[in-house]
């Protein structure tokens, strides 16, 4: 089971990123859990200050931008 974490306060951009992440999971055909992390302390402790951030299996892969579902799917398959 893989984990994808979306770091963000629940703003519009963070929701868009979460939607992209879910789409990517479906496209890549992997089993993954998508979690939305909203606690700012938790976000900062990952080294992220510009939200939304994206974490795949514990590794921060993007911050302050909204990667496309295609990009996320690519990261998911590259890392398996």
């Amino acid at each position: 089971m893989r984990t994808i974490e979306v770091l963000g306060s629940g703003c519009a951009n963070c929701r868009r990123l979460e939607a992209n992440a879910r789409e990517a999971v479906a496209t890549a055909g992997v089993e993954a859990e998508v979690i939305h992390v909203t606690d700012p302390r938790e976000i900062v402790s990952r080294g992220v200050m510009s939200t939304p951030g994206l974490v795949i299996d514990g590794e921060v892969v993007s911050a302050g931008r909204i990667p496309s579902a295609g990009d996320i799917a690519l990261w998911l398959t590259e890392r398996s």
Partner: protein, 347 residues
């Protein structure tokens, strides 16, 4: 194989970028004569009439503002991508209040800011040892002296007003940071923020390709333009009505220098207009043309971008009410002083 299938086929990047730039330049030079031709030849309105002037203003301004937004926001977002807060934090940490406030205000111009990131940004700065005043200098400058407002002002009014706006915004940010720093209000920061101090995690750094950067910039711009389009339309419509119908005497009588209440009044008017800087600029353009003094105009613009109730609500999660009140007070006072000063000094 799956890896390849997931990549979208696209035209070579230089081709797309080159074609976009060319189309933009052609449109920029064609739009004003086209608007006049449409108004006075095709529709057949008379130049100099109320309706004719209003329609010409609308038809000329809408494509102009849209072009400015599309072109400039894309370029600026591209540049800002190189200055994420994760990268500027080490520059500000461990600096004294005075040099730090100057640096923070300056860096605020190029750093992207979204009020939804204000809380992690605040915590990240404080835990890395950026002084409180310096953090606030950044929080004031970043949304107010943003390049979108600057370039819109430059494109519509020329460099003088854009530079005046930048100088005024930087001054408010630096002085605001110094005042908050000197007041030693550290105890009004929520306690949990201090518990994290000294435990700063090294900020992450992610390498991006030019294709990523260009795609991001375009995605951001098109989303922004779509979001603000209704406000833009309303703003330009209102601007057109003012341009065509409102007599100069009326604007001067209400908004002129002799009315000392004009500056506080426009600041108050600006509070609910948060994040609609692009939509308010056409209104400002029309009012300035009708004799609204420069100081009053600058105060209005600055208040639209810097005084934001949603941002105050968000910041309440990291700072206690007294500090929040000082922050709002310092920014508002700064904007009022700038307005009065420009009105007094110019003309």
């Amino acid at each position: 194989m799956t890896t390849l299938a997931l990549r979208r086929p696209t035209l070579p990047l230089p081709v797309v970028a080159g074609a976009a730039v060319l189309a933009w330049v052609v449109a920029w030079f064609v739009e004003a004569p086209a608007a006049d031709w449409l108004t006075f030849t095709v529709i057949g309105l008379q130049p100099g009439t109320h309706l004719g002037e209003a329609v010409a203003f609308f038809l000329e301004d809408l494509p102009k503002v849209l072009l400015l937004l599309l072109g400039i926001v894309t370029v600026v977002t591209l540049i800002r991508g190189f200055f994420p807060p994760e990268r500027i934090r080490p520059v500000l940490a461990g600096r004294g209040l005075v040099p730090g406030s100057f640096a923070a205000a300056g860096l605020g111009i190029v750093t992207p800011f979204c009020s939804c990131s204000a809380v992690p940004l605040f915590i990240g700065f404080v835990e890395a040892g950026v002084p409180l005043g310096v953090t606030f200098a950044f929080l004031i400058s970043s949304p107010m002296v943003n390049e979108v407002a600057l370039v819109m002002l430059w494109g519509l009014f020329g460099p003088g007003i854009a530079i005046a706006y930048m100088a005024a915004g930087l001054t408010v940010a630096i002085v605001g940071g110094l005042v908050i720093g000197r007041l030693h209000m550290e105890r009004y920061v929520e306690d949990y923020v201090w518990e994290l101090q000294g435990k700063a995690v090294r900020p992450i750094e992610i390498r991006l390709t030019w294709a990523d950067r260009l795609n991001d910039a375009w995605a951001y711009t098109s989303t922004l333009v779509r979001k603000i389009f209704p406000y833009l339309l309303a703003g330009i419509g209102l601007g057109a009505l003012i341009h065509g119908y409102v007599p100069t005497d009326l604007v001067v009588a209400i908004g002129g220098k002799s009315n000392l209440l004009a500056v506080p009044l426009v600041v108050l008017l600006a509070v609910p207009m948060y994040s609609n800087a692009a939509g308010t600029i056409p209104i400002v353009q029309a009012l300035l043309g009708k004799g609204l003094p420069l100081g009053t105009t600058l105060s209005f613009m600055m208040a639209v971008t810097a005084i934001s109730l949603p941002e105050f609500v968000i910041l309440r999660r990291v700072i206690k009410p007294p500090l929040l009140a000082v922050f709002a007070g310092v920014v508002t006072t700064g904007i009022l002083i700038i307005g009065f000063m420009f009105n007094f000094l110019i003309g």
